[in-house]
């Protein structure tokens, strides 16, 4: 009797301890998740707070729509950041145009076509590319790609949107490629079997069954690659030419948001309109990236509902 009692109490002591650690762990997990949110909100808040000061001195319309970026510390300074916004949009689009077909192609190749051996060799190599510092991409771009582009186009300088987009494409290739690869691989075999059993060729199976089923993964891979392209600085600044002018061709030096920030942020005093204007560019990048993410979530939710 005594013994069973003590076992019971031991049991319940153990029970409580387990329940307690269970709860503590759950709270720890929730806390961790909230830490992430706090980090993001602090970043957005800090960038926004600093950036918004720009508009004490600069008209909002001038900032966004004027193409005249001529900052300085006297009365004649103008802060038209339109060039950089246009540059970033063009660069991102161009990068996607080049990289999406190749990256998704590689993903299809890896997930659907390549023999197992080859897959297992190529995947780690692609993963490895993610770890190569952007400085190395930048210098390879500067020393090999830019002169090459100049030669091909017969221009004096090879710097510009094309060179930057090519470097960025290479940089986002592993990101888009591997995540798409994973999501294609995750499409259950039964869908492929169903398609083949209907008499579909491999091409038809991939295009009409596999890719649509992996659509969400591929779209988020592209968005992820896109945000990487949007935010990349160290490599872009070496090959874009860094001239605040609207690019009339793909091989004319121009500037984008990130390259302009990194070129100038170090050289301007913290408490100056110029600095605020640069911070607002960073803030804009952030907002655009966040909007993209929300946009993707909405698309995904909608397709889920359907």
């Amino acid at each position: 009797m005594q013994q069973t009692n003590s076992t019971a109490s031991k049991m319940s002591g153990r029970h409580w301890r387990l329940m307690f650690s269970d709860q503590v762990f759950k709270w720890f997990c929730l806390f961790s998740a909230i830490v992430l949110c706090v980090v993001l909100f602090s970043i957005v808040f800090f960038m926004g707070k600093t950036g918004v000061l720009t508009f004490e001195f600069v008209k909002v319309t001038e900032y966004f729509f004027s193409l005249n970026w001529n900052p300085g510390f006297d009365e004649t300074a103008t802060y038209g950041a339109g060039i950089f916004f246009i540059g970033t949009i063009l660069l991102t689009l161009l990068t996607l145009i080049i990289s999406v077909p190749i990256s998704v192609g590689i993903a299809v190749f890896l997930a659907e076509i390549a023999p197992t051996r080859l897959k297992e060799t190529v995947r780690p190599i692609l993963d490895l590319l993610v770890g190569i510092p952007s400085v190395i991409y930048g210098f390879l771009g500067l020393t090999i790609l830019v002169p090459f582009v100049a030669k091909v186009f017969g221009t004096q300088l090879g710097d510009g949107l094309l060179a930057a987009a090519l470097v960025l494409s290479l940089m986002v290739l592993p990101t888009i490629g591997r995540i798409s690869d994973d999501s294609i691989e995750a499409v259950p075999q039964k869908y492929r079997e169903a398609a083949y059993a209907m008499g579909c060729t491999k091409l038809q199976t991939i295009f009409f069954v596999v890719l649509p089923a992996a659509r969400r993964g591929i779209v988020s891979a592209i968005i992820l690659g896109m945000t990487r392209a949007l935010g990349e600085t160290m490599a872009v600044v070496m090959v874009i030419g860094n001239v605040p002018q609207l690019a009339e061709s793909l091989v004319q030096p121009t500037s984008v948001l990130t390259s302009n920030i990194v070129m100038q942020i170090m050289a301007v005093p913290f408490e100056s309109t110029w600095n605020y204007a640069l911070f607002f560019m960073g803030f804009s990048l952030l907002v655009v990236a966040l909007l993209l993410i929300v946009f993707v979530r909405i698309i995904n939710n909608r397709s889920e509902v359907q």
Binding site: L18, S21, D22, K26, C29, L30, F31, S32, A33, I34, V35, L36, C37, V39, L40, S42, I43, G105, I106, F109, I113, A114, L118, V122, P124, I125, L126, D127, L128, V130, G131, I132, P133, S134, V135, I136, L140, L170, L173, T201, K202, L203, Q204, I206, L224, T227, L230, G231, E232, T233, M234, T258, V262, G282, L285, L286, A289, L290, I293, R297
Partner: protein
Amino acid sequence: MQNLKDFKASKLAKIFNQFFMVSMWVLGIITVFFVLLLLFLILKDGLPYVTWDFVIGLPSEIDAGGGIGPMLLNSFYVTILSLLVSIPISLGAGIYLAEYAPDNKLTSTIRVCVEGLSSVPSIVFGLIGIALFVEYFQIGLTIIGASLSLAMLNLPLLTRVSEESIRAVPHSYREGSYALGATKLQTIFKVVIPVAMRGLITGLSLVAGRAFGESAVIILAGGVNASAEMWDFSLFSPGGTLAVHLWYVQSEAIVPDAKEIAHKSAAVLLFVVLAINLLFRIPLWWMERKMK
């Protein structure tokens, strides 16, 4: 109505299919070739000349023959510290999202935050690092500042990987564990995480490789130079890593062998990232062999 019975697969579809297969192979081979070429370009000018003295030697500002010891050490140190900070948080957040998160506003907010955080340009983390550690705490450009800023960069990717690999564990495993009377905590640690380990480690190696090669954050939050002596583990030493040193050597260094140092540093950097990828996989192979 047409009689589908007599329909044959169209010649065109077959030709398209053939063409597609060939072009995919071509694309695959070109890409693999291109990537290998890239790796070769980076390694060929550096790796053959890398010596042990270079790897652990002190850098020099005047004479040729300086090493990268303190920077390389910093790279490891900063990477490991940043992972030590980010792993518990990311794993916690990943577990929360995969195991606990109810389907409500808070959860979707957290999800948007994780994805949003992963889209923050790395230079912004650097700016935040400066604002926080240099301006606010006034500790200057240090290892701790670099590590914590880098940890912020690691968080979203690591969280994503944790969540995905935990989610990928089939539900039947959990049910098996609950059926034996295990609590949720026990189930997570004894059943779910071991099964998810493969995904977790692959993700971790990706994040570690990326952290190892990150430069924009470190330049701003850790500075461009490392401690002047080897094996300096002080958290308040300058936090320049090998990736930053590479940038420094390529842009501003005066030493006559700057170019060689840059090539060798790039080779070492790539080699280490490769090694990280391999090293992380060894325990996996081992575990899988044991399971068989």
